[in-house]
């Protein structure tokens, strides 16, 4: 008995379907990155790539390692909530190499917070510079101990 033969147009259609699905499967395997889908619809390794940057601000712990005396003194005054790097600037370079000086200091830093402004909350001591004093803040105030007089 002769087995029934598929019509050639059906055979071509089946072959074409296999070719398309096959190409898609191969492309998918080859083009999907290694860690895609590790946590969700994205490259899992992207998390590590983003985490691999080095910080610029060293963090309070790094400052305490060498300047413990200053940190403990600061913690007693009204400026206790302020981190070293708020005023002295990003300190990682300085923490890695103590010869590299931290970048900032000066009047503008004081006024950044203490210049009077109606939007500032009342708990903060505020001055209008031109009514208050035109010289250097440090002439009358100690930045680390705002209640002390130099």
């Amino acid at each position: 008995v002769k087995s029934p033969k598929l019509p050639p147009q059906i055979v071509r259609l089946v072959l074409l379907t296999f070719a398309i699905v096959g190409t898609y499967a191969v492309a998918r395997v080859l083009l999907t990155p290694e860690t895609f889908g590790e946590f969700g619809h994205y490259r899992g390794v992207a998390l590590k790539e983003l985490a691999s940057r080095q910080p610029t601000y060293a963090g309070a712990k790094a400052c305490t390692e060498c300047h413990e005396d200053k940190v403990t003194r600061l913690a007693k005054g009204d400026h206790k909530t302020i981190a070293c790097e708020t005023c002295h600037g990003p300190g990682r370079k300085h923490a890695d190499d103590p010869d590299e000086k931290p970048p900032k200091g000066g009047n503008s830093l004081c006024l950044r917070c203490h210049e009077a402004n109606p939007a500032r909350p009342a708990f903060l001591k505020q001055v209008t510079t031109k009514d208050h004093f035109e010289g250097r803040c440090a002439e009358c105030h100690v930045a680390h101990q705002p209640k002390e007089v130099p």
């Binding site: 946590f39 490259r43 390794v45 992207a46 985490a51 909530t81 790097e85 109606p118 909350p121 708990f123």
Partner: protein, 271 residues
Amino acid sequence: MKSPLSRRRLLQGLGGAFGWLVAQPAARAAKQAVQKVFVSTLAPKDYDPTKHKWLMCIDVDRCIGCGSCVEACKTENRVPQASSYFRTWIERYIIKKPRRGTDELRGEVVVDSPNGGRDGSPPSLVPRDEILKAFFVPKLCNLCEHSPCTQACPVGATFDAPDGAVLIDPIYCIGCGFCIQACPYGCRFFNPETHTADKCSLCYHRITRGLKPACVEVCPTQARIFGDLKHPLPEHDPIQEFIHKNKVFTIKPHLGTDPRLLYANLDKEVR
């Protein structure tokens, strides 16, 4: 007629296929080993993203608008210095007194953010005696539980990391800008240097090392508090204390984004 598929050719083909199958796992293992050397050496090794859930709280009443956070963020994350690119910025809300003779509760609301608040807050144009109240609102990524930006991304370049940060894979981002339009909080921008979308990453390279985000680190009044929902500190967890002490709000709650950026003492004018 000779068959096009001779025994020799068939064997060759089968041999080749077998060789390919054997070689593939080896090649994959080699690739992984190479990737480990080049990719993850600088990344902190003991950080497991599934064991954390980060969030941030902001006390509006404590923000003094000094702009230290904005400056620190730009430095830490190499955000372009021009005044239209910010991962975090400070808005100043000024609510005027109601006009005389009207029955309004509050007057006009003026919102500005000169240079994103980076240089502190210059005197406002509204005279002091016309101001009913004024305050600063720091803004950044709202850490949505259901983030619209992630849903809008056509290539899987932006995603909700298991630890709650909404991040951008800069290699996958094609810079189409859909996510920038999708964010209801305006927290995304197109970075002209990397040619990708950019946003607050919660200082991902810092929090994975046990440091605080740069903005939290430098905030002089502790207006910003950063914490982990999966690892509350045993005593005096700052986040729990914050939620216990304050009335806590989120911005645009009606959108159903369920932000993990919580604000205390927020006025209804803030949007």
